[in-house]
């Protein structure tokens, strides 16, 4: 992986210098390590946010990347972000950006194409998976945008990312944390 960031990110990195490092690290962490899909970048309330979800069945959620040493995210900023999120419709969201690295399914397809004669086992598994996926897509075409919570990702220079969930008002934490 080269050290220069992907080209679609550059305008955001320039426009939001405080969030630049955090944005870059968070994008890599979310898309490659945590495994978020349909991730897109958006600007909300003067801050750049990432919107996406881990599974197709989860609602789309917003993440604000922040570096560790900053106090710029004041309550007023949070308020404006929430307000703008409230009025955002799903159709207004920009398109997800391209994958930074092939997904597991892409790679599995690649393997199948390479070893078409020997891989009976892999093929069977993959058929099952692709069938399931098709069913899922047919069932859950509606994607919801979660407007009540936003996440912040706090990034340190050694690339540790810590995620926090911010809800409006006092909310009891749910027993099972969401991914």
């Amino acid at each position: 992986m080269s050290i220069s960031p992907p080209s679609f990110l550059l305008p955001y990195l320039e426009k939001y210098p405080i969030q630049a490092g955090a944005l870059l690290t968070t994008i890599y962490d979310l898309t490659l390590s945590v495994g978020w899909i349909d991730t897109r970048i958006m600007e909300l309330g003067g801050w750049v946010v990432l919107i996406g979800h881990k599974n197709k069945s989860d609602p789309l959620r917003a993440i604000i990347p922040i570096p560790i040493h900053t106090t710029c995210l004041k309550p007023s900023s949070l308020k404006s972000i929430f307000n703008q999120l409230k009025i955002t419709l799903i159709n207004d969201l920009p398109k997800p950006f391209e994958n930074l690295s092939p997904t597991i399914n892409d790679l599995k397809n690649q393997i199948i194409q390479k070893n078409s004669s020997q891989s009976n086992l892999i093929k069977n598994d993959d058929d099952n998976i692709s069938e399931k996926q098709n069913q899922k897509e047919e069932e859950e075409d509606e994607i919801i945008l979660d407007k009540e919570t936003i996440y912040t990702s706090i990034v340190t220079p050694d690339s540790t990312v810590v995620y926090y969930k911010i809800s409006k008002g006092i909310k009891k934490p749910s027993d099972i944390p969401d991914e």
Binding site: M1, I3, S33, T160
Partner: protein, 527 residues
């Protein structure tokens, strides 16, 4: 029937596996620093010179007689990234040297050791994912069940207490009806309790290895044996706290040894990953249930066949080892094993003042920062202050890692993250020698200095770390005043000139004092 190996069923196997893993780790991470010191005249004959090297280590003068002490300085290369303000190590050899000898850096897509490619390969191969997810689901269910049990236990205990209280007052007075009617809450509780107990019983039958004893039976035992004084009744009298599924039952004697994730597949959730995590080594594939053994062996065979066909280069490694600026400073200016490449000027930066000024906190936005040796330096630069603490503890032999997960600045490990949890959490508190300079300085009144002197902050940190059994250490770093530096070392505007100051002498002007903090409650009489 649970299909995941549990500690109780697998205790011997688990202990063996843990010991083997520990031995493997001892070997892998045996060098505390990237520098190797060989007291033999050729590095090939390591085994034959074992005896002589033992003698040499006890009587160093012998080594100087015949053989030269060779200090092996590896050459590691890293690239400076201005956006994330860190050094990226992409060369495979450097990655291994820096992480294995001293735990420097962190894989940017992993929790510590760069293992992203291996994890992805394992996911591709198929088998391991299911095991990991099954285990995670099982633990989640256990935790959820524990919470339901706990709520039920508390309700139950409160109900018991109420019952005893009302029955005792019934005996003494004749106004029992009043008591009953005056506590409508207890009626509601009764209904809830019945509902909960009904659930509890069903759940008890469903679960085969429940983490808690059935609360109803144990409570009746208590009432039969002991004499309950109604006057001293509280909601907690009958409470038997259910134990958490993941808790350490040794109560600190064998403090939680964190099983290091096998180099292939670390669990993505909590750090309390015990032997349940290992799902890629052969040892772990011994399931406790016999019928599964046959099918798992078949799976293993299938996986091996797949491995033969598998082209590992299919997955491009997107991960690099990332060093924070303090680690990079230590490795380059301190030890001299790291060379930093600057992508903007496309040159390797010599280890000296130019490197230092590149890494100092910039005063303007990152994109307009150009390589210039004239970057002014302030003694209270946050990077320098934080580096002093890092350098201090590294020199004493601790492995120092970033502490954001525990709300502190640095975590200290005795041997490294792979061996045990960190015992100490350090917070760096800057102390100005000259308070006037604090007012003038651009960093003096920023929150990351101001708040560190407040009790509210320290209390928060103490609470967080008390829960994870870490001792908080307040590290007071005294910042020398600008005035104390000779004017020849400064620019015209009064800032220090990095070119004219010797780094070692600069570090010597700071002082470090450590104070360990523990919480004291006078009513508890604990040391």
């Amino acid at each position: 029937m649970p299909s995941t190996p549990s500690l109780q069923n697998n205790s011997n196997n688990g202990k063996n596996a843990a010991r083997l893993r520990n031995q493997a780790n001892q070997k892998k991470y045996s060098n505390p620093l990237p520098i190797l010191i060989n007291s033999s005249n050729s590095s090939d004959k390591n085994s034959s010179t074992l005896k002589s090297s033992i003698i040499n280590s006890y009587i160093p003068s012998f080594s100087n007689l015949n053989k030269k002490e060779i200090i092996n300085l590896p050459n590691c290369i890293g690239t400076f990234d201005n956006i994330t303000r860190s050094i990226w190590i992409e060369d495979e050899k450097s990655k291994l040297i820096l992480f294995n000898r001293g735990f420097f850096g962190k894989g940017n897509l992993s929790r510590s050791e760069p293992s992203w490619k291996q994890r992805k390969l394992d996911l591709l191969k198929g088998g391991s994912t299911l095991a990991a997810e099954q285990m995670r689901e099982a633990r989640r269910q256990a935790r959820k069940q524990f919470k339901i049990d706990r709520a039920a236990a508390m309700l139950n205990a409160a109900k018991q207490a109420e019952a005893i209280l009302t029955s005792s007052t019934k005996a003494s007075t004749s106004t029992d009806l009043n008591n009953f009617s005056s506590s409508p809450l207890s009626q509601d509780n009764l209904e809830e309790y019945i509902g909960e107990e009904g659930e509890l019983e069903i759940d008890d039958q469903r679960r085969s290895n429940s983490p808690t004893p059935s609360t109803s039976t144990t409570i009746t035992a208590t009432t039969e044996d002991t004499i309950i004084d109604p006057m001293k009744l509280t909601a907690q009298t009958f409470l038997i706290r259910p134990t958490r599924p993941d808790s350490n039952r040794n109560r600190g004697k064998k403090a939680f040894r964190r099983r290091p994730p096998p180099s292939q597949v670390p669990l993505p959730t909590t750090t309390e990953s015990t032997s349940l995590t290992s799902n890629s080594t052969a040892i772990s594939q011994l399931p406790p249930i016999v019928p599964l053994t046959a099918s798992k062996e078949e799976e293993e065979e299938e996986e091996e066949e797949e491995e033969d066909l598998f082209d590992e280069s299919l997955v491009e490694d997107m991960e690099h080892l990332q060093l924070s600026l303090e680690e990079a400073l230590f490795l380059s200016l301190g030890l001299g094993v790291l060379k930093v490449f600057d992508p903007i000027s496309q040159t390797y930066i010599p280890n000296g003042p130019s490197l230092l000024s590149l890494l100092l906190t910039p005063s303007t936005s990152p994109f307009s920062n150009t390589l210039s040796t004239k970057t002014p330096m302030l003694p209270d630069d946050p990077l320098l202050v934080s580096y002093i603490a890092y350098h201090h503890f590294r020199s004493l032999g601790w492995v120092v890692k970033d502490g954001i997960k525990f709300c502190c600045d640095w975590l200290l490990y005795r041997k490294g993250p792979a061996f045990s949890h960190s015992a100490f959490a350090c917070i760096v508190i800057p102390v100005y020698e000259d308070l006037e300079e604090k007012e003038i300085s651009p960093y003096g009144n920023q929150d990351w200095y101001e708040e560190k002197l407040s009790w509210k902050w320290i209390n928060t940190i103490m609470r967080v770390n008390a829960l994870v059994q870490k001792t908080v250490i307040a590290v007071y770093v005294t910042i020398p005043s600008l005035k104390s530096f000779d004017s020849s070392l400064k620019f015209e505007n009064g800032y220090l000139n990095p070119e004219k100051i010797d780094f070692k002498k600069l570090l010597q002007r700071y002082t470090v004092r450590e104070v360990s903090l523990t919480r004291f409650g006078p009513s508890r009489r604990r040391d």
